[in-house]
């Protein structure tokens, strides 16, 4: 069975449309972040979360009223929402403060929430979870998160530049940064909190998106040898088409598993799986349109320099790869 029989779509020809669409989404995302900010999870913003399970859920408004009375100004910034599926009868209360900034008074706000619930006639409840994070932790995490992202991008750039060539590395990194920005845009559109789990999803997508790109580049590298007379756009386009079946199927199976996670994985992993869904779609799209486009731009420029650096790189690589080819043809068991 085959999804595409000898596909021959002109992906590279649509690169300007793709770049336009991506720019639009990313700009809209950045404007949303600019106007409304990116909602931060409690790990980054600091604050208190109390999750309680009621014997009989009293209604969100009554809980809000009870908790609000315990805080100055009626607790306008307090978020009260149901948590998990309705039959779990759980309610999450999030307060932006923690009490004292740090130290023994750290859990004052969370304690106040529990006392206010116990003091009002809302029925029996148990506290099933609590999370209190001082503001110091968030600053530390933000710094570490940015470093982790930047360093893993750099690591990938270096790896691909060594294994392939610089133009490929730049293409892969541009595509990955594109995915990063698209994920942030969608987090801003759908107002999911930026939590530790979401950062984990973002870093995973960095690895995944490059993964996808490497497969196409690998084909481009192979085709460069057999299609010496062809224009780089044609070579890239052929490679994208040759691997199209695989690209779609992989994205499909990855999506299947992440959608299962989104639907059945529970409340804690919802933002994580949402980010993964966006990242996988964006990663596939950027591989086909953005990464390939960048390589064609770069190579068009450098191709005008005869006997330049890229040409010598190609020459140096040729014998090695040619040898493997011969070997594999004679002895298919080589692994």
């Amino acid at each position: 069975m085959q999804i595409f029989k000898n596909p021959n779509y002109n992906f590279v020809g649509y690169r300007w449309h793709a770049i336009g669409l991506s720019t639009l989404v990313i700009l809209a995302g950045l404007v949303t972040v600019w106007l409304k900010g990116l909602p931060l999870g409690v790990e980054f913003s600091g604050g208190s979360i109390v999750i309680v399970q009621f014997d009989q859920v009293p209604g969100i408004d009554r809980v809000r009223g009870a908790v609000g009375s315990a805080f100055p100004g009626g607790g306008q910034n307090i978020v009260v929402q149901s948590y998990g599926s309705p039959e779990q009868r759980q309610i999450m209360i999030r307060v932006p403060e923690v009490g004292e900034e740090q130290g023994t008074g750290l859990s004052q706000a969370a304690d106040a929430v529990e006392r206010s619930l116990a003091g009002s006639a809302l029925g029996k409840f148990t506290v099933v979870g609590r999370e209190v994070v001082g503001p110091v932790v968030g600053q530390d995490l933000t710094r570490k998160g940015i470093w982790a992202t930047a360093l893993s991008l750099l690591g990938i750039l270096v790896y691909i530049a060594l294994r392939f060539r610089l133009s490929f590395a730049v293409g892969a990194i541009v595509a990955t940064i594109h995915d990063l920005l698209v994920m942030i845009a969608f987090l801003a559109f759908f107002r999911y909190d930026l939590s530790l789990n979401v950062v984990a999803a973002v870093l995973t997508i960095i690895g995944y998106s490059v993964n996808d790109t490497v497969v196409i580049f690998d084909r481009v590298r192979e085709n460069l040898k057999g299609m010496r007379k062809d224009d780089i756009s044609t070579i890239v386009n052929v490679a994208v088409n040759q691997t199209l079946g695989r690209t779609i199927i992989t994205a499909g199976t990855a999506l299947l598993s992440v959608i299962a996670l989104f639907l059945f994985g529970g409340e804690v992993l919802r933002a994580f799986s949402f980010t993964m869904i966006v990242g996988i779609i964006s990663g596939t799209y950027s591989t086909v349109f953005i990464a390939a486009a960048v390589v064609t731009f770069w190579r068009h420029k450098t191709a005008r320099v005869p006997a330049g650096a890229p040409a010598s790189v190609k020459a140096a690589r040729a014998p090695q790869t040619a040898r493997t080819k011969v070997k594999t043809a004679r002895n298919p068991r080589v692994m």
């Binding site: 069975m1 023994t104 984990a200 079946g245 199976t253 598993s257 299962a260 996670l261 639907l263 529970g266």
Partner: protein
């Protein structure tokens, strides 16, 4: 069937068997992280400045004593900050003598002279780094002892943070958070000090005898007087700064009852402590001895006669308090105070919910992917599914062997491995299809498919490993669990998608002269 294939087949059976053995039955063999099991997760900072300040103040006091003994009168001796103290107005004619007398302090401090005969002593940077490190290590060990005495199973206590001054404390199964927090952070600095004046109801009354001044070698501590039948009131005592014995001289501490049948803590001293204690009590019969805990006088009994190695702390405790106090006294004092940065409690219900939804999502994800692979690749799909299942078994087995715990994000990593893991097989199968389309023959196509794609897989897995490594570096607790799952998933995937999958193909192809392949 070739000999070569037989060996490879055996290797696969051994590996998968070993991994299966490590995870069956899963309920007992798979370690669960705190977020799935329930418990308390605390992050605290060790205020290492306290340890530096202690060192600076005690060095400063020694210098002061030396100066007194040498008969040098200076303007003032005071500490400026945790790492610096200053001696001002050293008389010019005694300058040389001063330098000689204060030389001892220069082992750990750099001396710098300023205007008007003043000298500033600054702690050497390497000493400060060492003291900070020691304080964190000591705090960790002390907390470990306390947590073990609490009877927590499988606690995690680890040093973390970019400055290396944070402690991560995970207590699975603990539900009384407040008590756990109190026990962990109580400094438990016990000092027995001779009382010079008091107790008096006010500070002013206390200092009348000394003209309102606190003599340099003494200090004022407050305490609450709780005599039976009377209203508790705050009193002040003037005590000697240098303690007779401290918590470090304790051998043991246990709950007991005082003469009024009130809860109390009985303690016994080690040899060194007993020697000091018997000397001091023998010389000071009929005077008061203040028992100071964390800067608060808890009681000030009269020394009736020489006591050698036993004592009792009384002072309006509850039963729970004496139990906790003996626990923390036994474990030793913390070298520095602690502040809580983060507190997370996961109730057992929440953890159980997460496990249920994690299993549900895994099964649904696996079901969807298996259905798709069978539908799309027909019989070869079975090959991919076997490889995938082995992939998951090896992943869990490897985690079990290295003792990594399964966390909720780890479950996400597991499900991702299902979705992304088949990618390698898809890549290989698509290549085989291409080769078949080019009329290369079944065996040759399979061989070329695997060998051509192997390098590509090496590249894709390497880049994924790079980002997983940084993820591990970034994360704490649960995120590390996620990164660990990804790494093991990637490595075992490389093995199953090439080695296992290829062996299965060749096993099938070696039995018949195939002209077609169901792919």
């Amino acid at each position: 069937m070739g000999k070569d294939i037989r060996w490879r087949f055996l290797l696969i059976v051994v590996i998968v068997g070993a991994c299966l053995w490590a995870i069956v039955p899963p309920a007992q063999k798979i370690r669960l992280g705190l977020d799935l099991k329930g418990g308390v997760h605390l992050v605290l900072r060790v205020n290492t400045d306290d340890a530096l300040k202690l060192e600076t103040v005690s060095t400063m006091e020694r210098v002061r004593d030396e100066l007194d003994r040498a008969g040098i009168t200076v303007g003032a001796v005071k500490d400026l900050n945790p790492t610096q103290f200053q001696v001002s107005e050293v008389p010019p004619q005694q300058d040389a003598l001063f330098r000689q007398t204060a030389a001892e302090a220069q082992a750990n401090y750099n001396r710098e002279s300023g205007v008007g005969g003043s000298y500033t002593f600054t702690m050497k940077p390497n000493i400060a780094v060492q003291l900070r490190g020691d304080a964190v290590t000591q705090a960790k060990q002390t907390i470990e002892r306390r947590v073990n005495d609490l009877g927590v199973t499988e606690p995690v206590i680890a040093i973390q943070g970019s400055a290396g001054d944070q402690l991560l404390v995970q207590l699975p199964g603990v539900t009384d958070v407040q008590r756990a927090k109190d026990i962990i952070h109580s400094t438990a600095l016990l000092e027995l000090k001779l009382v010079e004046q008091g107790p008096s109801p006010t500070r002013e009354a206390l200092l009348q005898a000394t003209n309102g001044q606190v003599p340099p070698n003494m200090e004022v501590v407050s305490g609450v007087d709780t005599r039976a039948g009377e209203r508790p009131e705050t009193v002040y005592l003037l005590v000697r700064k240098a303690p007779v014995v401290t918590g470090r001289d304790l051998r043991n501490a246990k709950p007991s009852l005082d003469e009024n049948n009130q809860p109390a803590v009985s303690f016994s001293l080690n040899n060194e402590g007993a020697r000091k204690f018997s000397k001091a009590t023998g010389e000071n019969v009929n005077r008061l001895l203040a028992i100071v805990l964390d800067g608060q006088a808890r009681s000030w009994p009269r020394i009736e006669n020489r006591i050698s190695d036993e004592g009792q702390i009384t002072g309006g405790f509850t039963q729970q308090e004496v139990q906790d106090l003996s626990l923390v006294l036994k474990s030793g004092a913390l070298p520095a105070s602690l502040t809580y940065l983060e507190e997370r409690t996961i109730g057992p219900t929440l953890g159980a919910d997460s496990i249920r939804s994690g299993i549900m999502a895994s099964l649904v994800g696996l079901g969807l992917v298996v259905t798709f692979m069978l539908f799309y690749y027909r019989l070869s799909g079975i090959n991919a599914i076997v490889a995938l299942v082995f992939n998951l078994i090896i992943l869990l087995g490897a985690m079990s062997y290295v003792g990594a715990a399964m966390t909720l994000p780890g479950v996400a990593g597991f499900i991702l491995t299902i979705g992304i893991g088949v990618d390698s097989n898809v890549l290989i199968f698509e290549r085989i299809k291409e080769e078949l389309a080019a009329q290369r023959g079944v065996r040759a196509s399979v061989g070329t498919g695997f060998s051509r794609v192997f390098l590509t897989l090496l590249d894709t897995h390497s880049t994924a490993l790079i980002s997983a490594a940084f993820l591990f570096q970034f994360g704490t607790g649960p995120i590390r669990g996620f990164a660990t799952t990804l790494v093991f998933g990637l490595i075992s995937n490389l093995f199953t998608s090439t080695f296992v999958s290829r062996t299965l193909f060749e096993l099938v192809l070696s039995r018949r002269q195939a002209s077609t392949l169901s792919i």
